[in-house]
């Protein structure tokens, strides 16, 4: 009998989903707040001067205080980054398809690409300045140069790893190289391509900010460089926070595009 009464007691109080906290959804917000809180407390306890490490409250004050230049420079950096990134997507896709097309092109160009990728892009900025002057153009080009390599490698890898059996089945039917690329190679490399966009967009920010820091009169890189020379450390941190926000937003956008375009790849790996 006791069991039955217990059961009815449980049934008598229906669960109230409205009051349940979804900790996983809240986690990103809570952890971010936690980071700022630890930062704030740490700086206050250690008594570091704000010229070395400002507290987050001080940084947000700076964001509010300098909002107009911060906003203008953030848009400039976003513009150069996205432009460089878009060129990298077009060029990376093209070169990736070209490299993945045949084994000999792959073998010949791959070491060159690796060598090119090994060059620190900051070393190229002076050359770009000689060619194009300072400002937007070298920033766009640096963003492009730094972010196109992962796209190329991923697209080429997707093409180069077609299962030999699939290729045999199609070749035995009389398929030309172009048929195999269109029917199998390109669709197959799309998850690699969209996956590489997340890496590429973050790298593009590195490129544009490096170039702006060295050779530009606007953009967040330039703003931080001049703030630093004025010992306005809170403004430097304000620039970093704006970069982080832009980076997270663009990354989220790329992750969303990836999911939309190649959902089959996620579901198929999950089901296996």
């Amino acid at each position: 009998m006791s069991v039955i009464t217990e059961n009815t007691a449980v049934a008598g109080t229906p669960p109230k989903p409205a009051f349940r906290i979804n900790w996983i959804r809240l986690a990103p917000v809570l952890y971010t707040i936690g980071l700022f809180v630890i930062w704030e407390i740490g700086v206050r306890i250690s008594g570091l001067p704000h010229t070395i490490l400002p507290t987050p409250t001080r940084v947000f004050q700076a964001i509010a205080q300098y909002w107009s230049p911060i906003w203008k420079n953030s848009l400039q950096t976003l513009y150069t980054t996205v432009l460089g990134f878009l060129i990298a997507v077009a060029a990376g896709l093209g070169i990736g398809l070209f490299i993945g097309w045949s084994k000999s092109i792959y073998a010949g160009l791959y070491p060159i690409m690796v060598g090119f990728n090994a060059i620190p892009k900051v070393a190229l900025v002076p050359i770009l300045v000689i060619w194009f002057g300072i400002g937007t153009v070298p920033a766009v080009l640096t963003a492009f140069l730094i972010s196109f390599f992962p796209i190329v490698v991923n697209v080429a890898t997707g093409l180069a790893t077609i299962e030999p059996e699939t290729e045999d089945v199609l070749r035995a039917l009389g398929a030309k190289k172009l048929d195999i690329m269109l029917k199998v190679g390109i669709p197959r490399s799309m998850p690699y391509f969209f996956g590489s966009l997340k890496v590429a967009i973050t790298l593009a920010f590195v490129g544009s900010v490096v170039s702006e820091t060295v050779a530009s009169n606007n953009g967040l890189g330039n703003m931080m460089a001049s703030a630093q020379s004025n010992f306005n450390v809170p403004l430097v941190f304000a620039g970093l926070i704006m970069l982080a926000i832009e980076g997270i937003a663009m990354y989220a956008l790329m992750a969303w595009i990836e999911k939309r375009m190649t959902g089959w790849a996620h579901r198929s790996t999950m089901s296996q």
Partner: protein, 261 residues
């Protein structure tokens, strides 16, 4: 005249000093015949597949298919491998229709006659017991179901010759027996010649009219057996003494072929 004839064929990979995969290979496959090829591993069974389909051209000897000497891929062939290689971004039905987008005499008619081809694919799906699964994605199907779909893909363009390279190797015993029956019924109902490369001797005796035993590398035919059992064959013949005697004899021959190597 046989549909496929292979006479005195040598195939060497990787230049003049490379591995000799098959040497002095002779085989004649009649139209409508079901042939099984068995042998120790590395005996050049997969090379045989590629020679007949025209993916490889032999250095010596002649391969003819349907009266023509093979010098390029022959499109009257359908192929299926152990790995079903379904494309995960296409539904099962679209996977099965893929060969029609390639084969010269279908690709230009495909768009205009889509309905007719889809109906054909659905009929094939029904034959292999996958009715209604056409709109599922391959990764939503089990291994056995993917292999059934793979057979449909190999048959959609009505090939005269179906080449199967260990298609049931990765399946569990019960699914494998089910698919043996599927293949048996396909062979009985369609006008198709089948070459099955396998290392399962019971499979070869159950399904084939002729079993070829190949030697270790370099591969050549060491024995050719007519399978005497009448068709249609039921799975229960595998428990008859004559069946087991034949399997045992094949087993002995392959053991000898391995020992020689």
């Amino acid at each position: 005249m046989p549909l496929v004839s292979i006479s005195n064929v040598d195939m060497r990979y990787g230049g003049p000093q490379g591995t000799l995969a098959v040497s002095g290979l002779d085989m004649a496959i009649e139209r409508g015949e079901f042939v099984a090829v068995v042998g120790p591993s590395g005996c050049g069974k997969s090379t045989l597949m590629k020679l007949v389909t025209g993916l490889h051209i032999p250095q010596a000897g002649v391969v003819t298919v349907a009266g023509d000497r093979v010098t390029k891929p022959v499109s009257i062939v359908g192929m299926a491998f152990q790995n079903p290689t379904m494309l995960p971004w296409r539904t099962t039905l679209d996977n099965i229709l893929l060969p029609l987008e390639i084969v010269e005499r279908h690709r230009h008619r495909l768009r205009a006659n889509k309905k007719e081809y889809v109906a054909k694919a659905e009929a094939l799906l029904e034959t292999v017991g996958l009715k209604g699964f056409g709109d599922k994605f391959p990764w939503q199907l089990s291994g056995g179901m993917q292999q059934r779909a793979n057979l449909c893909r190999a048959l959609i363009h009505e090939p005269e010759l179906l080449m199967l390279d260990e298609p049931f190797g990765a399946l569990d015993a019960f699914t494998r027996e089910e698919l043996w029956c599927v293949i048996r019924d396909l062979h009985a109902s369609q006008d198709v010649t089948i070459v099955l490369v396998t290392h399962d001797l019971r499979e070869s005796v159950f399904l084939a009219d002729t079993v070829y035993v190949m030697s270790a590398r370099p591969g050549r035919v060491v024995a050719e057996h007519r399978v005497p059992f009448a068709r249609p064959r039921d799975l229960s013949i595998m428990y008859e003494p004559a069946f087991n005697e034949m399997v045992q004899k094949l087993h002995g021959e392959i053991a000898t072929a391995r020992a020689v190597a």
